[in-house]
Amino acid sequence: MGWFDKLKALVDIKIDLRNLVQITINSNNATNSNNSAAFTNTEKSLIINTAHLSEEQKKELKQITKEYIEEGNKLLKTETSQTLHSIEDYNRENKSKDKQILDFFKDVIPDEDLDALEASLFLRSEFRKGNETIVKKIKRDIRIKFGDRGNNISNLCTAGYFENFLRELYNVSKEKEKFDQLYESIVSDSVLAVFVNKEMSTRALTEEIKKKIEASLRYGLEAIFIHGIGKQNISTIKSCIVENKNFFDFFEKIIFEKENIIMVKLLIRKKEL
């Protein structure tokens, strides 16, 4: 008798399991119904609430689940299962173009950065599809694993810096050491770009821009970029430019704005003596 047959024997006989696709186990003590059901179902899914199983039933369910795993099946948490499906879809649909980027940077950047980049390319793919929920999770997971550095990498990746700037930079750098220094400053200190988030005030943004300009001059970079996504961040950037008109008038600005995204390129000129 397989695990599914044993499960059928465990479940209330009135429940039709013929078209079942998914079984979800929870242990939910909270209930707003007098009829606290151990088993609830739709045509294709069954929910088992262990909080309403007898000790004997729990024991049986544990044994059934063990047999399910021993058959070679993955037993996953709901969110993990959804994320893994998204990753598998991404691997099928997008991999070749993003793989080219990963292959290029394989022996160019540290292994941990490569892992962060790989996750960031997946993040970018989901961001472009508008999958907000998983985007938040991926960003959070990258930060958990790689801290601020990972966060910088994901911002730079989403904005296309790896293939549009860093790859070119590597190709034109005569010495790897020079590339490594500049790469390090861009990724760890984020000298090249400011990514505005909703917690940033215009004052904080102004300070950040001034710091980047100083750092960029030291590294010989010709421009810095300011990125914002969303109404609030766009407004912060525009307010910053208006409030500091005298300061920003010193620089040539190129502003690109489309739908919900703004990018400001500030060309840095060295002051003439």
Binding site: G2, W3, F4, L20, V21, Q22, I23, T24, I25, N26, S27, N28, L46, T50, K58, K62, Q63, T65, K66, Y68, I69, E70, G72, N73, K74, L75, L76, K77, T78, E79, T80, S81, T83, L84, I87, E88, N91, D115, A116, E118, A119, F122, L123, K137, I138, D141, I142, I144, K145, F146
Partner: protein, 82 residues
């Protein structure tokens, strides 16, 4: 003749403890998943990292392969473990 496919089992966050119990695992004071019979033996993920209860994402292959609910880890898992 078409083979009838068995359904998939998944579990919600509230059932993590239930799942660990069926796998004979426990949680130590630091919040790490450990062997029930030997609390000094910490459970490792497929990529050899300790696993916190809050990050527990699931198992595969007779409970030998523990999975972390983190995208970075899951990307590696999708490539390495079939």
């Amino acid at each position: 003749m078409n083979e009838i496919k068995n359904p998939t089992i998944i579990f919600e966050d509230s059932a993590k403890k239930f799942v660990l119990e069926l796998l004979d695992k426990d949680i130590n004071e630091e919040g790490l998943i450990v062997e029930k019979g030997n609390p000094n033996q910490k459970v490792l993920t497929f990529d050899k990292n300790e696993l916190y209860f809050e990050d527990f994402g699931g198992v595969q292959k007779g409970s030998e392969v523990f999975i972390e609910n983190n995208v970075v880890s899951l990307i590696k898992f999708s490539k390495e473990v079939k």
